[in-house]
């Protein structure tokens, strides 16, 4: 590093000053992180900018027409197919994040408050199924819910139903069940982390001052764990809105989501600008929905105190 300073540059800097600058904490830190940062810039930020640019262009067969237009957004927002798919995707991701958070909270609470010595073992036990292939987990739900599947053959074997039910697979409920299962661990971890930060003496104080278990939970523990609930809701809501595999495998006609339409625009339909506009619209709307969720949870948190 010092060798570079020796070839007297025009803007001559004394060697000592230059060394001091090179060894300063911000420069070293930034230099160290720059390869990773550049990687994320080139493969994440740049691509997203390119998608945004495409969403304002049009395509004639194989050539892209670069004149600015809002036509793609008009199609994305007003064409009934895309509007319906968008609404359905938002509805599904909202329902899934609600279910996962409600189902996950007691588990996170249990591990944090009653986990004792085995906290990390519990966490490990809960996360391990999620390191297995997502594709395989969705596939196993297909095996369970299918016409000749586990649930149907099991229920028939028990004599509860006479013929296989077709209501289980290929609809949005199947998508919701599968996604709720697939994202469970992602909701537990942030809630657990925020519950761990709850000062136990505050809960004791509430009890000492005459609050019952429910009241002290509602007025102390729950509001204090709100940050975890918020991040759990967001970490499930944002990715699930763009899920592709689950609707494709278990959704059938009634469970198609916006990601399937986006993929079609980049594949068979080959209309990149429209696909780009659909992606941008989805991201914007899910960001709005996420913002609204944060505001609602914060308002509830204030009410509870």
């Amino acid at each position: 590093m010092t060798a570079a300073a020796e070839g007297s540059p025009p803007w001559r800097m004394t060697r000592a000053r230059r060394n001091a600058l090179l060894q300063s904490e911000p420069v070293q830190g930034l230099a160290l992180i720059s390869p990773t940062f550049l990687y994320a810039l080139i493969l994440l930020v740049l691509p997203i900018l390119v998608v945004i640019a495409h969403s304002f262009w049009t395509q004639n067969y194989l050539t892209i027409d670069r004149t600015f237009t809002l036509e793609n957004y008009r199609i994305a927002l007003t064409e009934p197919i895309y509007r319906d798919l968008l609404w359905r995707s938002l509805y599904i991701s909202l329902t899934v994040s609600l279910f996962t958070v409600i189902l996950a909270y007691p588990i996170a609470y249990f591990i944090s408050f009653h986990g004792g010595r085995h906290k990390s073992l519990w966490l490990f036990l809960i996360t391990i199924p999620f390191w297995t292939s997502y594709l395989l987990r969705v596939m196993s739900w297909k095996v369970i819910l299918g016409y000749n599947g586990v649930l149907n053959s099991g229920l028939m074997g028990l004599g509860i139903i006479d013929e296989p039910s077709t209501a289980l697979l290929y609809n949005s409920s199947a998508v919701i069940i599968t996604l709720t299962h697939a994202w469970a661990a992602f909701a537990i971890l942030p809630i657990f982390v925020s519950l761990e930060k709850v000062d136990r003496t505050l809960v004791e104080a509430a009890t000492d001052l005459g609050d019952g278990p429910l009241r002290s939970f509602l007025r102390v523990t729950l509001p204090l764990s709100a940050p975890g609930v918020i991040s759990a809701a967001l970490i499930v809501m944002i990715p699930t809105v763009g899920d592709y595999v689950t609707p494709k495998l278990v959704g059938g006609k009634d469970g198609v989501m916006i990601a399937n339409a986006i993929q079609a625009q980049f594949g068979k339909a080959s209309n990149w600008p429209l696909g780009a506009a659909l992606s941008v619209t989805t991201m914007l709307i899910v960001t709005l929905m996420a913002g609204a969720t944060v505001l609602i949870i914060r308002a509830l948190q204030r009410l509870a105190r």
């Binding site: 911000p26 994320a40 493969l43 740049l46 007691p106 594709l135 395989l136 899920d243 592709y244």
Partner: protein, 274 residues
């Protein structure tokens, strides 16, 4: 009345936890069960035990190709993302500078973005740059989604790392590289190996990005996806899926044990995300 009281005191929590774990594991367990069943469709009652579906696997050339491709992609993605993860995690835990949080947020962003959107954005840029789609483009994509996980594992290993040990080594005349090799590296080695295993597992199981960014070569999840169209091939897919499940399970267990060892060395406890 007593029922309400018991509910409020949380006596139901252990049984709820048990049911929840059952809900998490049950769907996954059906894959191995039906992979050793003689019937070609997965349904109850089971018809008999066989290893036939497993015996067929090594006789499928397309599958062997896919496995080889997955291995190449997984190893390259794991090494690259761990190297980039080490640099970033070291910078984040060791230095204080303006913009640190923003940069960290950007690097972690792929974790919370819809994968389809990440995949198609990269696809657009790669096609614009005239890169032909191949296993190489899949590796580029996998590195992007692996870095956040690598960072999480590595920061938990680097945090609480006693800087005075490095200073002592430098004071005693060791060069910067020597200090790194003889002091820093041995301390963080378990975290690095853990990161390699985690990234390999993610890459091995990752479908969406590979699906969009690959040319004609398939990785294992893409091979499975292609086979799902044929009902008759399902038992073979279940057998292959079971092998993948076992591989992921083993790799992640080893990774977690190593990560804990690393965390203990630097006196820092917590889960993979904690």
């Amino acid at each position: 009345m007593t029922a309400v009281r018991r509910f409020l005191s949380g006596g139901w929590l252990p049984s709820y936890a048990f049911l929840y774990v059952l809900f998490l594991y049950l769907p996954v367990i059906f894959l191995p069960i039906f992979s050793i069943n003689t019937a070609a469709t997965p349904k109850f009652p089971l018809s008999g035990f066989t290893l036939h579906w497993y015996e067929d696997l090594p006789r499928t050339p397309a599958l062997l190709d896919a496995a080889w491709n997955s291995l190449i992609v997984g190893v390259s993605a794991a090494v690259l993302s761990t190297v980039l993860g080490i640099l970033a995690a070291r910078s984040i835990t060791r230095y204080r500078y303006p913009g640190r949080r923003t940069i960290n947020g950007l690097i972690m962003a792929p974790l919370v973005l819809p994968e389809v959107i990440v995949a198609i954005s990269m696809l657009l840029v790669m096609l614009q740059l005239g890169l032909s789609l191949s296993l190489f483009t899949v590796v580029l994509g996998h590195v992007l989604v692996c870095i956040p996980y690598s960072m999480t594992v590595l920061t938990s290993g680097f945090e609480g790392f006693d800087r005075s040990l490095e200073e002592a080594s430098a004071d005693l005349g060791e060069s910067a590289f020597g200090t790194f090799r003889r002091v820093t590296l041995p301390m963080v080695a378990p975290a690095i190996i853990s990161s390699l295993l985690v990234c390999f597992t993610i890459s091995l199981d990752e479908f969406i990005i590979a699906f969009f960014l690959t040319g004609t070569e398939a990785t294992l999840p893409i091979y499975i996806w292609g086979q799902l169209r044929f009902a008759a091939k399902l038992p073979g897919v279940l057998a292959l899926g079971t092998l993948l499940l076992v591989a992921s399970f083993l790799l992640m267990t080893i990774a977690e044990i190593l990560r804990r060892r690393a965390a203990r060395r630097t006196q820092n406890e917590g889960g993979l995300y904690a």
